[in-house]
């Protein structure tokens, strides 16, 4: 049985010159777990919004063809009726929460549709989403992952047949991401819901989804079973989708004759174990040892800090934190959501004062600095680039800090920065209206405008599709030569492995580990404790031979061969 039946759907947004969706005909079967992939702007979100009737009923535009969800025509039925058949969880899910307490929000839709048992329905939904015990919590007490689960519970409470999730794990750490997918899997298998996700993370697709649908320029290219879909490496990469690293590695092996082309490409680590073999002469390349004799540029001494909380005792984030940051360090700061990464950064730039203890910047106590003086030494780029835009064009934003300090040649330097970050053509646009990658580049340019010695970046690659992410990673590599000391707080382990010389692991307000990538990633105890998910290719290597440390696909190809090797390398 099909839950979604679409025939010759073409749609363009009001005022747009060309259609966003072009002549789409597709059926989605009941009980499917479908991943929609495609590059930015190919119409994925628009497509999903046609499924619950938001298009064309709430967002008008030029609509032709027919969409049937659970047998209901979306043109003839109210959004309200359709909402009880098709649930939707947005990418910016925190804006989806409209009520102050958890149970209230989960049951709000049921109340609005006048269901007398709305509370029980809310409770049921919370149970399905693993939020039992949180009913009376206020929404600002929830972590990012829990907030996402709540947004999901709000949709689940109406017991829809179909659930649509727009990039569910983009902002979450791996532990929370696993949990979300665990819940989705249960909803799919136990409760028979049809799940549709828009997803960039192909490792998750490989582990959880049944089918993959590729969209390109508003058209559906194909829908295939997951394994088969992920093996179409070239086609996916052309659309800026990156198949699992295991698959890419095998694909490359086949191309240079290291693996027989008859072998089916593996998509998961389990499959990979059967087709990869360690080379007899494989050796690890040791990571760069920590730089221990550099000059200390920032220092935490017995620092404790706590936040005021709405109720009860203040919440302590750090207790007796000691840390040295040396000139030239390229540090990745990792740890789960809420481990204190952002707090540590805020203290360094002086936005947050420690409750006790001292922080020194170039051996001068931060307490004696005025904020405007700090800007010369240290700069921070927020996780949310929108908060960096205080002027009405990015050109003005980049030059702001230089102009107010009457720096000579601020014009020239702004030009240089615009050029370096490829923003020259966009300089008169408002930062908020740019695409994700452009916004991120603009915020980096703003961050280094005053040429600070230390640069702090909070999650620079979060919320980006893989292609944009690669681009930002290149930009970050480029930054290495511009800014001496850089600290990045991130969940992105590929970024950590490829970029950082020093990794600081935070857990519950403590530095639990401080070392280079070999130290951290070969330490299983730390990985388990903090819930780090190393890059897939790294886990692949270790699954075959535990002593191997391959951080990138290139490393992996150097150390491993494929089944049915045809040529000696």
């Amino acid at each position: 049985m099909n839950v979604i039946e679409i025939e010759r759907l073409t749609y363009s947004y009001p005022g747009a010159d060309y259609p966003t969706l072009k002549n789409i005909t597709v059926q989605i079967e009941k009980g499917d777990f479908l991943a929609i992939v495609g590059n930015n702007g190919c119409g994925k979100s628009t497509f999903c919004k046609t499924l619950n009737g938001l298009i064309p009923q709430f967002i008008s535009g030029d609509f032709s063809g027919s969409v049937k969800a659970c047998g209901l025509d979306t043109k003839e039925n109210d959004v309200g009726v359709l909402a009880q058949k098709v649930g939707y969880v947005y990418q910016d899910f925190e804006n989806q929460i409209v009520r102050p307490t958890v149970l209230d929000d989960a049951s709000y839709a049921c109340l609005n549709y006048a269901m007398a048992d709305y509370k029980e329905r809310g409770m049921q939904a919370l149970k399905k989403c693993g939020l039992t015990g949180k009913e009376n919590d206020y929404i600002w007490q929830l972590s990012g992952g829990q907030t996402h689960l709540l947004a999901l519970a709000g949709a689940v409470s109406l017991e829809p047949e179909v659930l649509i999730l727009d990039e569910p794990i983009a902002q979450l750490d791996p532990m929370h991401a696993d949990r979300i997918y665990g819940v989705l899997k249960e909803l799919n298998e136990k409760y028979g819901k049809t799940i549709i996700v828009i997803e960039h993370h192909t490792e998750y697709i490989a582990d959880f989804c049944k089918h993959v649908m590729l969209m390109k320029d508003g058209e559906i290219q194909w829908t295939l079973p997951t394994d088969e879909a992920l093996r179409r490496v070239d086609e996916l990469q052309e659309c800026n989708i990156f198949p699992p690293q295991v698959t890419i590695a095998a694909h490359r092996m086949q191309k240079n004759g290291m693996m027989s082309s008859d072998i089916k490409l593996p998509t998961t680590i389990e499959d990979g174990k059967k087709v990869f073999f360690k080379k007899s002469d494989a050796e690890n390349i040791a990571a760069k040892p920590l730089n221990t004799d550099g000059q200390t540029v920032a220092k935490f001494e017995h620092v404790s800090v706590s936040y005021r909380s709405v109720k009860g005792e203040p919440h302590t984030v750090f207790d007796d934190l000691n840390l040295d940051i040396r000139k030239g360090d390229k540090i990745a700061l990792i740890g789960s959501n809420g481990a204190g990464k952002s707090t540590l950064m805020k203290m360094l730039v002086g936005l947050l004062k420690p409750t006790s203890g001292d922080i020194y910047m170039n051996s001068k106590n931060v307490r004696t600095f005025k904020p405007e003086e700090m800007a010369k030494y240290i700069s921070m780029v927020y996780q949310n680039p929108e908060d960096m835009f205080i002027k009405d064009s990015i050109g003005a934003d980049i030059s702001y800090s230089m102009q107010v300090r009457n720096i000579e040649e601020s014009e020239k330097r702004t030009q240089e920065l615009l050029e370096r970050f490829r923003l020259t053509e966009l300089k008169d646009r408002d930062g908020r209206l740019l695409s994700g990658g452009q916004m991120r580049r603009a915020s980096l340019a703003i961050g280094i405008a005053l040429n600070p010695g230390i640069l702090l970046l909070d999650e620079p690659t979060a919320n980006l599709d893989i292609a944009t992410r690669k681009e930002i990673m290149r930009t970050l590599d480029d930054l290495k030569s511009v800014t001496e000391t850089v600290i990045i707080a991130t969940h992105d382990m590929q970024l950590v492995c490829e970029w950082a010389d020093r990794i600081i692991v935070l857990c519950e307000g403590q530095v639990v580990y401080d070392g280079n990538r070999d130290d951290v990633f070969s330490n299983q105890a730390i990985i388990d404790k903090v819930g780090i998910r190393p890059p897939e290719i790294f886990s692949m290597g270790r699954a075959i031979s535990p002593e191997m440390l391959c951080y990138t696909i290139d490393d992996f190809l150097r150390c491993f061969d494929g089944e049915g090797l045809t040529k000696c390398v």
Partner: protein, 277 residues
Amino acid sequence: MRIADKMSESILDKISIDFLRNQVLKNAYGNDDTVIAAMDPRMLLVWYLFFGITPWFVNNIAFLIGCFILVAITTKLARVAGLVLLLFVLGVFSQTGYLLLVTLIFGGDASAIMPLLVLTLKVATVSLASVTIFSGLDPDKLANGLMWYGCPERLSFSISYAYRMLPLLMEEFQNVLLSYRLRGNPPQHDKFIGKIKYLAYQIKIIIHAFYPLMLNTAKRSRTTVEVLEIKGYRYAAVNKAVKKIKMSCMKISNNDLLFASLSFLWVSVTVLISTII
């Protein structure tokens, strides 16, 4: 000097946006386990009507003092956030309190003081009664109570939605201000002239911060508007059954009756005393 420095630093720290946000949340939701918060909103609204209106028409000192003591107790029971109380004290003082003080200092006699005292008491009583209700009750209960008395659903939704949005808005505002703080270059403020310039600079920044604040919020609310549609907000507004469900969760309990009768008893006693005097 150092103590003075420390003082000014800690005061500045206290009126940060973060602190304001915390106080707003505390005020709205931090006291949901108090006696007042557990009361029925309809009863409290009637109670408020009495203490919000009668004091204006009565000039008897004993009665006013009686009422004042009662609302002071309820304010204490409601565990109102510190900032609100501070605003209350400032408000009363700026309205009439300073006149009372000035009269006392410049040797005004009882005939001048009495009317001012009466006025101050009136203002204080009414304000404290409002503080008890609007700060002691959580916004949703208040909204439900208002709806029972026939206020439109949209008003009550706006109240609870505003409280939901306020912390977000303040967070956004704080982030924008932080951007100014990190990148801006405020004037030197060691000398007196500098301090005035610094103040002007601060005000200018706050005004400038509104532009990004509004745009960022508008961007965020696009999703919220769609979600409200999906979640059936528009249907609920016209559906009588929904209103009935919402109303059904309000119940007058023994506590409410006890509170009402105690208030009544107290007022009767003060009236009695005021007639005897």
